[in-house]
């Protein structure tokens, strides 16, 4: 099968859907000629023109508000938010308006909008361009949240997101744009709420979102050298969340580590870990471990920045501790 980058996969998904449905348009900063800083939308303006691929002034609340209005009145906008950190700028448009319009209008309004943005540190972009803020939007009812972990997931999930009649926040890992994966030529969609068992294992379940899938795959390789067999589960969407797949994996392995690049406190890893503790308690042979980014602004210093995120070595180290029964809490 052909190998394409995550960037190309997203581009293909947008192009295919725009060809299929003329109500879809793309809006954001530098989406047209520039093709975004990550070259994700390169070439789309040539095919679809500036009427459907719209460059905006540098005003995130402005174009997000326009897109929400357009979605309420029959269009299907795809909004490009250059950095996930800018979510803070569009919170009202996204969380107070888009997420609640259907509910507040008694079901008369739909907001079929996709907000594409990104997460991920270690790109030396400093504290205001390196955050992983998906927990913020996952907390708000009315928003679906997809976290593709490879080019394959990105294409299949984005097409599903575009066809969804609800607002979907689609968050890509900005470090993964050039990573290649096998992506079929023919059309496919990945349904929301269906986790992917990336690798089967026996001793410990690693629940890995987005960027952390690769980290966990490397951790699983390290662990196999110690004879520890790790199972990797990629939830793919955190809203809706496929609890069944996660729980049945943990019931099999009796141990779980949830790895997510958001800040560790009050985050997605905590939510999933809590679900595991509540619903698989009597199957657990070790405490459920959360692993997230350190609770600090992401440092600009490369040396320091690398210390703030979960690494394969750290995941493997925690996995060894719980498998060998060394993790003791509350003593």
């Amino acid at each position: 099968m052909r190998q394409i980058t995550l960037s190309q996969a997203v581009n293909e998904a947008i192009a295919e859907e725009m060809r299929r449905d003329p109500t879809i348009f793309l809006i954001g900063e530098d989406v047209a000629e520039a093709g975004t800083p990550f070259k994700v939308t390169a070439g789309l303006v040539e095919e679809f023109g500036t009427e459907r691929v719209i460059d905006t002034p540098i005003s995130e609340p402005g174009f997000m508000g326009m897109a929400v209005g357009a979605a309420m009145t029959g269009s299907r906008p795809i909004v490009d938010l250059m950095f996930g950190d800018f979510l803070f700028l569009i919170m009202d448009q996204l969380c107070n308006q888009a997420a609640k319009a259907h509910y507040m209008s008694g079901g008369k309004l739909n907001v079929p909008l996709v907000l594409r943005t990104n997460l991920g540190a270690t790109r030396r972009s400093a504290a205001q361009h390196s955050q992983s803020l998906h927990a913020l939007v996952a907390h708000v009812p009315g928003l679906k949240v997809a976290l593709p972990s490879s080019a394959y997931e990105a294409k299949g999930l984005l097409k599903t997101a575009i066809r969804d009649n609800n607002p979907v926040v689609f968050i890509e890992d900005k470090l993964m744009y050039q990573d290649k994966a096998s992506v079929p030529e023919e059309e496919y969609l990945i349904p929301f709420g269906q986790a992917n068992i990336v690798r089967e294992g026996r001793d410990v379940t690693l629940v890995a979102t987005s960027s952390m899938r690769q980290v966990c795959e490397k951790a699983a390789d390290l662990l196999s050298e110690d004879g520890i067999s790790a199972e990797i589960i990629d939830p793919r969407t955190i809203v809706p969340l496929d609890e069944t797949t996660i729980l049945s994996s943990v019931k099999k392995t009796s141990r779980a580590i949830v790895v997510d690049e958001g800040h560790q406190s009050y985050g997605v890893a905590a939510e999933i870990a809590s679900i595991i503790s509540e619903k698989a308690f009597y199957h657990l042979d070790a405490p459920v471990i959360r692993m997230g980014a350190m609770d600090v602004p992401v440092p600009f210093s490369p040396v320091l920045e690398d210390l703030t995120v979960p690494t394969p070595e750290l995941v493997a180290q925690n996995a060894r501790k719980i498998v060998f029964g060394e993790m003791i809490h509350g003593l």
Binding site: S254, F281, L284, D285, G325
Partner: protein, 329 residues
């Protein structure tokens, strides 16, 4: 007429109260409403008043004692002559006695020092001295808290593994699944053996009065007696109608008496059924036919029979079925 003074209920969630001070001593004459003693709960200190007049007698608790609500503290008797002074301690002495708050001390004291009913002139039943609060039943299960994973605890319970015993053996906490002994099969298990039916068939064909079920009951009883070195064995025969008949020492002509069943026997040879299991606690031997052999299944349910014991017992029974001469030896 004697009257009881009991620890009053002073609050909704109050189980007991501490005696702060005695305001009267045994033998004191008290009038209705006189303050007798002060008690303290976690919320308040209250005076307990006399509800009858007479003489304070038979004091059961000293200052500092934590007394359960409803327990007898003292009596008020009618005459000076009825006063029992053999009490725990007089108020003056109590100030020197270290307060005892141990509940068991309290129970012992009340049993030892309880006033004898003789001094009361035919007291009506409801006013008779109540039996002291029964001491809490001795705790059999160890209250020791063992640190173990939820899964380890669940498996230990299922398999009947005592985690406290594991810790006593030197296992470090927290206990995980990997620390549980693998050999432990638990409380419920069944063992099967296939045994040739030739010898039994030959025996039955020679005797018209011999009954197959009783023959197996004899084998089982003989094996049990030999294996556990006991004199009397009672076998409960379970019929296919669910009726149970107890048969004592079937191999010795049914002599002797034994109340408790040693094991149960069900004979499925006349049916196409091959096994029977029940959740009833005990040891059950099930006999079925399988081609030209007997299928003996020994199921053990919470009977405290260890795996090696069950294996030994079933081997012993099987040996007798194979070679009935063994039964006579």
């Amino acid at each position: 007429m004697a009257s009881e003074i009991k620890m009053p209920q002073l609050g909704m969630n109050q189980d007991s109260a501490v005696i702060v001070t005695w305001l009267k001593v045994a033998g004191d004459k008290v009038a209705l409403g006189d303050a007798l003693l002060e008690v303290e709960t976690d919320k308040a200190t209250v005076e307990v008043e006399a509800l009858a007049e007479g003489y304070l007698s038979g004091i059961q608790a000293v200052e500092g004692d934590d007394v359960p609500v409803g327990n007898l503290i003292a009596m008020i008797v009618d005459t000076d002559a009825d006063v029992t002074t053999a009490q725990v301690a007089s108020p003056s002495a109590a100030s020197e006695v270290a307060p005892s708050v141990d509940a068991s001390d309290w129970v012992e004291a009340s049993q030892a020092e309880r006033p004898q009913p003789e001094p009361f002139a035919e007291p009506p039943k409801r006013q008779s001295v109540p039996p002291p609060q029964p001491a809490p039943a001795p705790i059999v299960v160890s209250q020791a808290k063992v640190l173990a994973s939820p899964k380890a605890k669940l498996l230990a319970r299922e398999r009947g593994i005592d985690l406290v015993a594991l810790r006593v053996k030197g296992l470090s906490e927290p206990i995980h699944v990997k620390d549980l002994p693998l050999s432990q099969v638990g409380d419920h298990y069944a063992l099967s053996a296939q045994v040739s039916q030739e010898a039994v068939d030959a025996l039955l064909s020679r005797s018209e009065i011999m009954d197959r079920t009783m023959l197996f009951a004899s084998f089982a009883a003989g094996a049990w007696r030999r294996f556990f070195e006991v004199e009397d064995v009672a076998v409960t025969l379970i019929g296919l109608d669910g009726e149970a008949t107890i048969c004592t020492n079937p191999d010795r002509g049914g002599e002797g008496t034994l109340n408790a069943t040693s094991l149960s026997l069900i004979d499925l040879c006349e049916t196409r059924l091959s096994s029977y299991t029940t959740s009833t606690v005990g040891v059950t031997l099930c006999v079925a036919k399988e081609q030209n052999a007997f299928l003996l299944t020994l199921s053990v349910s919470g009977a405290g029979l260890s795996m090696p014991q069950a294996v030994g017992l079933l081997n012993e029974i099987a040996a007798r079925v194979e070679d009935p001469i063994r039964q006579l030896l």
